[in-house]
């Protein structure tokens, strides 16, 4: 596709449930990033992939959060036992190689009720 695609655009889930958020990066981009944007705040870094491996996962808030990128393209952010505090917009970005411009998707708005 022309840009970074994130699905779903909106997700409402009940507290305690498991959710998966999907990111399709720009074709050929080797680097992929996940960020989280809470209401009224700037995005915060979660995790960065170079190829299939997580090069830096220091931003994941706890072990309920996990992300994979098994074939070096599509990535899935997984959240177990969701809490109301997980409600936010989850942004994905990709870049051709590290240290080059990152292109952001429109995000997935997650609401935990």
């Amino acid at each position: 596709g022309a840009g970074v695609s994130q699905t779903p655009s909106n997700k409402v889930t009940e507290k305690g449930k498991y959710v998966e958020l999907r990111c399709d990066p720009i074709s050929g981009h080797t680097a992929l990033y996940w960020y989280r944007q809470s209401l009224g705040q700037g995005p915060e870094f979660l995790i960065y992939f170079q190829g299939t491996g997580a090069a830096d996962d220091s931003g994941l808030p706890n072990d309920r959060f996990f992300a994979v990128r098994p074939e070096g393209s599509v990535s899935t952010l997984k959240i177990q036992r969701t809490e109301r505090g997980d409600s936010a917009v989850y942004l994905c970005a990709s870049s051709l190689v590290p240290n080059t411009e990152a292109f952001f998707g429109q995000g997935t708005r997650l609401t935990v009720v």
């Binding site: 995005p43 870094f45 960065y48 240290n99 995000g107």
Partner: protein
């Protein structure tokens, strides 16, 4: 550790007047600095970036920013505001050893009055 402070949460200007969005940063390394814009229901878009070349950086849509190391500032300016400039603007810092980990400010909401 790096950090960014955007000095104004909200700026309101009249159409056709200058825009100034202020940003101060803290970084242990020679930083890379960026400004991103976020329009409602759209993805973040890169306006401009500084990566240790010229200190005056020109971006898209007539925006520019000046890197001032002595003041640790990277303010965003535009000579004449347009209605389409209304959006949320983020100042972002990244350390040169790990440019993939962007540290965002809290954002400045720019309102343009007709």
């Amino acid at each position: 550790a790096q950090s960014v402070t955007q000095l104004d949460s909200h700026v309101s200007v009249s159409e056709g007047t200058p825009v100034l969005l202020r940003c101060n940063y803290s970084s242990s390394y020679s930083p890379s600095l960026f400004w991103y814009v976020q329009h409602p229901n759209k993805g973040l878009q890169l306006l401009l970036k500084y990566t240790s070349a010229a200190t005056l950086v020109k971006g898209i849509n007539g925006f520019e920013a000046e890197f001032k190391k002595s003041e640790t500032s990277f303010h965003l300016t535009k000579p004449s505001a347009h209605m389409s400039d209304a959006a949320e603007y983020f100042c972002v810092v990244s350390d040169i050893q790990g440019a993939q980990k962007l540290v965002f400010g809290q954002g400045t909401r720019l309102t343009i009055n007709p």
